[in-house]
Amino acid sequence: MFLGQALGLSAVLFSLGVAGVLLRRNAIVLFMCIELMLNAVNLTFVALAQLHGASGYVMVFFVMTVAAAEAAVGLAIIIGVFRHKQTVDLGNINLLRG
């Protein structure tokens, strides 16, 4: 049911997430775009779980766990960077540039 449509929607959402990562300079918005990409992949898992059985749901469960851990650590890093540079604009965070 809705297999092709769901996969197409997933492709569109993933592309929008990539566009957001490439377009924005705000680190927090960039993280949100990564969450959008993870959601698109989750939609693929759920759609294909209709064919391949409930293992896809377990994968969605693990993806959500990794997303939560990634958000917690990433936002802590952003707070640490903000404390040093007083900004989250990625154009100004160039300490590692050679």
């Binding site: 996969l7 959402l13 969450e35 959601n39 391949h52």
Partner: protein, 185 residues
């Protein structure tokens, strides 16, 4: 009727995601992302994944996005700033994203049912293929075990070790977040 509902939520998800990446105010972007996640939860229900829809709302729209909003407000970033990249980057982004979208839609031409039949003919490398026969409809599993049971059975039988490793991942994430966000280590 169901198709109409699906398309309404699909269009809502795409519009919300577009607005999320175009809004200048980070708080607006976060709220549009929450809207995207709610639309996706509705689509999960239509795809017979009611439990996943519930934890999508609870974990993603509830917990993770609240974390984002907390950080935005903690750092006082709730005001709109011009943070789009320059015109050359925008052009390059359109090219890259267009190519990626073409690639992903080309993947759709590969018939999922053909993929499923090929998948079922692979040799069983682990338990899932033997315990849960490939091609078995999730709807049937839900009918047999209940909505939560259909997820719980593979999670606690076949994927028990990865599930336990997940707890280590979360512990490391907690310690890492505390150490990184602390003022003095």
């Amino acid at each position: 009727m169901t198709e109409v509902v699906f398309y309404v939520f699909a269009v809502a998800a795409i519009i919300s995601a577009t607005l999320c990446i175009l809004q200048r105010n980070p708080v607006s972007a976060a709220l549009w992302l929450v809207s995207t996640m709610f639309s996706l939860a509705a689509i999960y229900v239509l795809l017979n994944a009611q439990f996943i829809a519930a934890i999508q709302v609870l974990v993603y729209a509830g917990a993770i996005m609240v974390l984002f909003l907390f950080v935005i407000m903690l750092l006082n970033l709730g005001h709109a700033e011009p943070d789009m990249r320059g015109p050359s980057t925008i052009a390059a982004t359109l090219v890259i994203v267009g190519l990626l979208a073409i690639e992903l839609f080309a993947l759709l031409q590969y018939n999922p049912r053909k993929l499923a039949s090929e998948f079922s003919q692979w040799p069983a490398f682990s338990d899932p293929a033997t315990v849960f026969v490939a091609g078995q409809l999730s709807q049937q599993e839900s009918a047999a075990r209940g909505v939560v049971g259909a997820v719980a059975a593979p999670l606690f039988q076949v994927y028990l070790i990865p599930f336990e490793i997940t707890s280590i991942l979360l512990l490391v994430a907690i310690i890492g977040a505390v150490v990184l966000a602390k003022r003095k280590v």
